[in-house]
């Protein structure tokens, strides 16, 4: 269990915006600003936060779809940041992604069978055409789809079925790590549970490791072993699921949890609510000191000056807050 499959060390991704032609220094969007965490083989790490907190960018940096500004991404013992294109191709087989929007992540002019078969051919996993078809059928059935689906086009499928195709395509490469970027948030409530169960079944069957990027705290709690909460490019808190949900330390985590309504009026009536004022500041110009201080209910003067380090506040429970 202690075998670390992925280690992210001090990851930074800054996007320059503006500036350019007429000189002028471009401004920097600090999308990810010094993030470190590790994932053990076979576990699910949930990465939660609101839009713009950098969770998706972090995922894309791990996949090397974005080149990190600095930091290291060590996957199965190999630092990905220094690899050539050729070397990356081999690594990518072991690391797959499932996107949020099953409508735009499938090629509308390919059949489901072609979509799943393409990576098998490109990477030479199943080079012969006739055996490839059998493999596609097998992958479809892993994802809970009938073999006949192979001849359909994406537009003929429902949202849930499309997301299953996305899952089958990711499985085709026999990866060890799958980055799930909001895999259920575009789906209807009754379908979300189907996909979550599917992901869990596949994890058990194939020993997969997941980085589960999402904003829905209830879903993340259900699927994750450990959870990291991000705010404005930084990790605010990271620990195992139980500690995070039962004993949150960071004021942002507390507010997030309190903002999630529970589907039971009897419980809701007696719940204490922490409603955060203000909004997430722009990552173009993050506040000095602790990035959360302008919205923090317990901020003091020094929070405006000092950047809190992510430190161990309880055994195996790290949070970035001066007030803990």
């Amino acid at each position: 269990m202690s075998d670390v499959i992925l280690e992210v060390r001090d990851l930074v991704k800054h996007f320059p915006v503006g500036g350019g032609f007429f000189g002028g220094k471009p401004a920097l969007v600090k999308a990810v600003d010094g993030v470190s965490f590790s994932i053990r083989r076979g576990e699910t790490l949930g990465l939660v936060g609101e839009s713009g907190c950098g969770k998706t960018t972090a995922g894309r940096c791990i996949l090397q779809l974005e080149t990190p500004t600095s930091g290291q991404i060590i996957f199965e013992g190999q630092d990905l940041t220094g690899l050539t294109h050729q070397e990356l191709r081999k690594v990518r087989r072991r690391m797959q992604v499932i996107f949020q929007d099953p409508y735009s992540s499938l090629n509308p002019r390919m059949t489901v069978g072609q979509i799943i078969a393409e990576p098998l051919a490109v990477h030479g996993i199943v080079p012969e055409r006739w055996t490839r078809k059998a493999r596609v059928t097998q992958l479809l059935s892993h994802a809970g789809l009938l073999p006949a689906m192979a001849d359909r086009y994406p537009h003929e499928l429902s949202g849930g079925q499309r997301q299953r195709v996305g899952v089958a395509r990711a499985l085709a490469m026999e990866p060890s790590l799958i980055i799930c970027d909001e895999p259920v948030s575009a789906l209807d409530v009754s379908i979300q549970a189907q996909i979550i169960n599917l992901l869990e079944e596949l994890q058990a069957e194939f020993g997969l490791t997941y980085l589960f990027v999402a904003h829905d705290l209830s879903v993340v709690r259900h699927i994750s072993d450990r959870v990291a909460v991000m705010y404005l490019g930084k990790i605010a808190e990271i620990t195992d699921r139980k500690s995070l949900y039962e004993n949150p330390q960071h004021p942002y985590t507390k507010a997030l949890l309190s903002a999630v309504p529970i589907p039971d009026p009897a419980v809701e009536a007696g719940r204490e609510r922490v409603v955060l004022g203000g909004e997430v500041p722009s990552p173009l110009n993050p506040p000095p000191g602790c990035v959360f201080h302008p919205r923090c209910p317990i901020a003091v003067d020094e929070c405006r000056r000092l950047v809190p380090e992510l430190r161990e506040v309880r055994p195996d429970h790290r949070a970035a807050c001066l007030r803990i």
Binding site: Q161, S190, A193, S218, R221, H222, P263, V267, V275, L276
Partner: protein
């Protein structure tokens, strides 16, 4: 309590290439003065079309209201002339849409958009309307309103734009607000801000609200009564407490069981509803939920159940509704 809005046997249809879609098929519900009623269901169940029908904003010629009555303060909105309807729309009933960016005009200042309804409906002078607009912006929590009124929608964040939408809905002191997924596009902490704001305002000003959402948590937190829709029809209705404590329709039960909850121990496995929502052009003859239902019997496939009383103020359209309540939500 006084019934403010009563929708009776509403039927709204759309003609499409694939056939006639009965988007709303014989639906009845009401909203009483000052209360918050929820219309819950998944995409395509007809909840938004229900609200658009009340506003008479169903897109013609494809969409048509083909039957039923919509009684607002005793007057049938479907019998009004376009001019009379304009007097009600935005003045007595206003609407908040899901996507604040697409429902604000990008080339007009926010001030122009907030004051327009007051000038038209209340005959205010531009100066007075602007003064009132500043008051309303303060009410919805936008600081420095005088300056903000001169800005354009793109200068506001998503949460602020939704506050503008709420402000616009409030300008003429409506009796009823139809809020169509008002916070779906927003982040959790901003969603909490907007919903608290809506609830405070509806209490303070006595505005009734129809809240359309797919989020069962939001309904539990804010609604007094709940209508659950599935495939163009209401399948269950009751007080929020009753619906959540004793759901009497397999669909409601399935929805409640399929979502993970923060306050309960983590379940080993979620209990999803199998299958997927039906194609509205090809509905099965009996109960539309039968193909996905855990309690299905032969009768369900042949005969469609109507809403029947299963308790005080609680109705359900299911042949086994009686048995469902016995074991609680299990």
């Amino acid at each position: 309590m006084d019934v403010l809005l009563e929708v009776r046997d509403l039927q709204t249809q759309f003609s499409t290439g694939g056939g006639v879609v009965r988007a709303v098929d014989g639906v009845s519900w009401d909203v009483r003065a000052g209360e918050t009623v929820a219309l819950v269901g998944e995409s395509g169940c007809g909840k938004s079309v229900s609200a658009l029908s009340v506003m008479r904003l169903v897109a013609a010629p494809a969409g048509r209201i083909v039957g039923g009555a919509i009684l607002f303060k005793g007057r049938d909105l479907l019998a009004l002339s376009d001019e009379e309807m304009r007097q009600i729309r935005g003045r007595e009933i206003s609407m908040i849409f899901q996507e604040p960016m697409t429902s604000l005009n990008p080339v007009l200042t926010v001030g122009r958009q907030v004051t327009e309804t007051m000038e038209i409906h209340l005959g205010m002078t531009p100066a007075r309307a602007r003064g009132r607009a500043a008051e309303i912006l303060t009410l919805v929590g936008i600081s420095d309103p005088e300056r903000r009124l001169g800005q354009y929608p793109h200068q506001f964040s998503g949460g602020m734009r939704q506050r503008i939408m709420v402000a616009m809905a409030l300008t003429c002191n409506p009796a009823l607000i139809l809020a169509d997924e008002p916070t779906t596009a927003l982040d959790v902490t901003i969603q909490a801000q907007i919903l608290e704001l809506l609830k405070d305002l509806s209490r303070k000003l006595g505005v009734a609200m129809l809240m359309i959402t797919h989020n069962l948590g939001i309904v539990a937190r804010y609604a007094d009564r709940v209508n659950v829709m599935y495939a163009s029809r209401i399948v269950e209705r009751g007080t929020a407490r009753e619906i959540y404590a004793h759901p009497r329709h397999p669909y409601t039960l399935g929805l409640l069981r399929s979502v993970p909850r923060l306050d309960e121990p983590k379940k080993a496995k979620l209990a999803p509803i199998p299958g997927q929502p039906p194609d509205l052009t090809r509905l099965p003859p009996g109960c539309a939920f039968a193909p996905r239902c855990a309690f299905v019997m032969d009768r369900c496939r042949a005969e469609r159940p109507e809403l029947q009383s299963v308790g005080p103020e609680h109705v359900s359209a299911c042949w086994v509704a009686g048995q469902l309540g016995q074991d609680g939500r299990g």
